[in-house]
Symmetry: C2
Amino acid sequence: MDKVAAKLRVVRNSLGHVQAVEPTIIDHGSPEAPRPKYEYFKLNGWGYNDTKILFDSAKNCGYVTGSRYSFAKLPLTQLEEFVKRDVGLDVRSKAKLPQDMMAVDPPYVNEPFISDLGDSFSRLSFDDRERMTHSHGHTLDEMYRAKFGKFDRFADCVVYPGEHDHVEKLVKLAVKHGVVLIPYGGGTNVTKALLLLKEEKRMIVSIDMTRMNKVKWVDKVNMLACAESGIIGVDLEKELQKSGVCTGHEPDSVEFSTLGGWIATRASGMKKNYYGNIEDIVMNLRVVTPIGTYEKLSVWPRISNGPDLFHMIMGSEGIFGIVTEATIRVRKLAEVHEYDSLVFPSFEDGEKFMWELARNRVYPASVRLVDNIQFRFAVAFSVAPQSLKSDFLQRIARFYLTRIKGYDPYKLAVATLLFEGSTEETQYQKKLLYEIAERHSGMSAGEENGRKGYRLTFLIAYIRDFAMEHDFIAESLETSAPWSKVLPLCENTKKQVKESAAKLGVTIDPFVTFRITLLYETGATVYIYIAICSRGLKDPVAAYEKIEEEARWCIIRNGGSLSHHHGVGKLRKKFLPHVMAPCGLEIIRGMKQNVDPRNVFAAGNIVDLEEPKAKSGEDKPSPTPKL
Amino acid sequence: MDKVAAKLRVVRNSLGHVQAVEPTIIDHGSPEAPRPKYEYFKLNGWGYNDTKILFDSAKNCGYVTGSRYSFAKLPLTQLEEFVKRDVGLDVRSKAKLPQDMMAVDPPYVNEPFISDLGDSFSRLSFDDRERMTHSHGHTLDEMYRAKFGKFDRFADCVVYPGEHDHVEKLVKLAVKHGVVLIPYGGGTNVTKALLLLKEEKRMIVSIDMTRMNKVKWVDKVNMLACAESGIIGVDLEKELQKSGVCTGHEPDSVEFSTLGGWIATRASGMKKNYYGNIEDIVMNLRVVTPIGTYEKLSVWPRISNGPDLFHMIMGSEGIFGIVTEATIRVRKLAEVHEYDSLVFPSFEDGEKFMWELARNRVYPASVRLVDNIQFRFAVAFSVAPQSLKSDFLQRIARFYLTRIKGYDPYKLAVATLLFEGSTEETQYQKKLLYEIAERHSGMSAGEENGRKGYRLTFLIAYIRDFAMEHDFIAESLETSAPWSKVLPLCENTKKQVKESAAKLGVTIDPFVTFRITLLYETGATVYIYIAICSRGLKDPVAAYEKIEEEARWCIIRNGGSLSHHHGVGKLRKKFLPHVMAPCGLEIIRGMKQNVDPRNVFAAGNIVDLEEPKAKSGEDKPSPTPKL
């Protein structure tokens, strides 16, 4: 017996169920190893422990706690009025406070597996906080349970590999001992991809990749860099910056999500117009599967070697293996980072502007068109003094009154812009962009409004937490659609949400708002925020999920995709047969059968395997063989 | 028995082997149906029947026959001198004339299959010319056999489906009756992907897709078009042009190759810098596999729905099914089409220019840097009078003498350029491009030289035929490599070819020339022409293949890929385990097993299936069951 197994003592009751494991944690990590997530991330909600939205009744304003963000502690003077009028939320209502942390079931332990593992890890933890953190992502259901409920199944332990070889060993042993492995990166998934299957009777080991966080090399001649998959987005950029390069990949989760997670979910970033989606960035990857480690044996700019297996791994959501490393295309640091914003008389005018940008491939790093209510939402979370905003609205009024004879402040739409790149290319983009804006009655609304528009991105999930404690449940969803479908899709989805909510007894008209964002010549991404009042609903999450489901059917009927970048997970599995021909699912199932015949990677995402179901009535893991 | 089977009479000898099938052809096609290929394409070489390179001893010049190309019949006055000095080929040597058409073995006929087929086709042919044409692509080996030898196995018949449903029926019946299907588009493959397996005992039916050649719709709002897969490149562009759009996909084979062929081989085009590779263009596809028709059920600009199965089909070289239709991204017709050319003091200077273009994403539709010998090769196939060329060289001399103090006409390299796009974007590109060229001592050599540079593209395969009839065998190969590997790869590959050739007893130093072309931020495509003198070689093709094999090992050792866009086929299968981790092949084999368990699509490309080998000594197909 090796030293790790010798150290661990598993206490069982007379039925063989585990009561405790001692010590809870074995850590081989160096002092610089990343801290366990619960030390900085909430156990009952989104984001940093120190960051929360609160309302100060004495000062009549909201504010963000902590000091992490530039806007922390500044007064949100318009918050109360906006959420009362446009959402129906009373910020002075008594907050429904969440539990500190849910109760966690004892683990199921496969001792032969643990014993064989030896010292092949950086950290091994049976700590309840870690087990809980690693048993969920951030879909509404998961967040609601984190605050007010409990998960059906918990990761039995969390293993942090320190190098590729650890992962190879973990996978081999999981196959040998019938253990389930769930790769875990930033945990920011929003498709229930990380939620564990209730009926899983085997030991579930969460593989936390964040200790594999090194940038291995940067090659500035070929504009490549190689990094371990557990590196978190912001750390990757920080590290690359030291060499004067960047990826430019910036999903909204970039503070927490990892390179490996981006690959597993086929991620997209806010600045994809300029830097590309993850499939444009990844030039090589190493993925450990039960039948071996797959990788290309060198890095080439583009090849024609039969089927490209990268596209089997990208978007595979943990069902085939664990990505340990990737070689990515990097770019020189941009010379220019410039924000701007444009006001359009209506969302329809703005959409035409976006469409023309795409047709002409005028691609600023980011351009986001928000509808009227989202614009006002952004203003409510802006810290500018009231006077400044009135002044701004007056300027818009003057502009439109003289130029297009009348405008409606409750109709206008705003596009926020971010230009990145070389001086020449951003100048070229700007020239063409403003010509196109002009044709659609776009008026510049200044850099500051552009910059502020983007900060809402990092606040959104905190806002959802605030809403949840005030009887509102909220979620974002996204789709992509051909240009001609974008506006009808928005209109019909809004109608659908309102109709579905009314049917379910939601008393206040739902808040539904749209953003048209990432540009493609053939279409665009539509981002949707929905918030519904949960007061009086017996099961608010079930009600919301019904509304979202009906909204998704509506989106699909209206030419939208199942997902542009969030993925399928377990949340959207049922829709897959409606967006691809049936043999597609059969092909994916066949891949799974070939690559992972023992279903070690039993995340349960994307497709259901035709396997015997767990016996009903038997919810708890059964006892394991002892050493 | 249906009417088709009733019409067909299969004459067999006493052993059951087919002697004849009557009538040879059943054609349901309309009068506008494309003509069978042999009516316009050579049976013993590349290209149009009327187009051939000849040397006129009386006039001391070469010329191209026919009237199809703008340069046809014009005198190639420098041809003789160049090929004598730089290649070692004597154009006055007696040409070794090819056979008109090789002998074709009688077909193997699975009568129950033919009978069940009914009328589900546009044309059904047992014609020897069609069977021969459909039994090969245009790899050197195949061309040499077309001229001087024989194939080991012939397609037993050629079926032209007229619509998607015909293909679905063909695939169903092939599964039922144990028939092999080989999809056939333009037949221009150069990896032996179309060469049939000698040991195949089942009836082989070549599915010629060229009667499925309609553009079904064009959508100018969403910049999409849907076309049947059998449409030939030039026809697709012609048809799209009527709607004011184009694909811009222009592989060198564009006169003959098809949309479906591009998908099956993961093709790339000359103008990919501006229009993208095939994977950037295809937005949806329909592929008929033995387990059903796969397609996405709508067209979305980008999605994250699990593994993207398009990338399983793209590059699958006919082993999974038949692509019947694709929806593609289109572009507005370019406002500007402008050629130019640049002279650099050396290939090394030119390479630095190319590298800097890529790093700065200055992407003219095409830019090709040819080495010194390829530049002189192009001049030899140029029709400009001698005087003009001397004048040009004098201008270059003057420029370099004053600017960089000396130059060597036997060292300079030339980049040909094609700008396409809107006025603004080409102006922007040109400004940046000429600044970069200036930094690397590039001197403009005029539009005419640029334009002429590109025409060599369409002549190359005719030149190979000319060479083959004068004791030279020639081939092109390609790779992609990171920028830092490009120059050493060229240098080492040239050395390797010369060394390999010498070892094999090739008496004249081989002709080896390089072109750096399609740009990527992380690397480039390298295109290589090789010609060796076959005089005195016992088996010229075997010798050449040995040289190419050693060259490919050298390319891989030097960081080059197995293929940038030609593909794997049967020619490069043996290298695959050396460019990807072993489980990659296992995964592809697993896909094949799942999608085509009976190996209906027995093209034998990419991977070998672990199947019982045909008994040796039994080369002929065995008799079939009778109706």
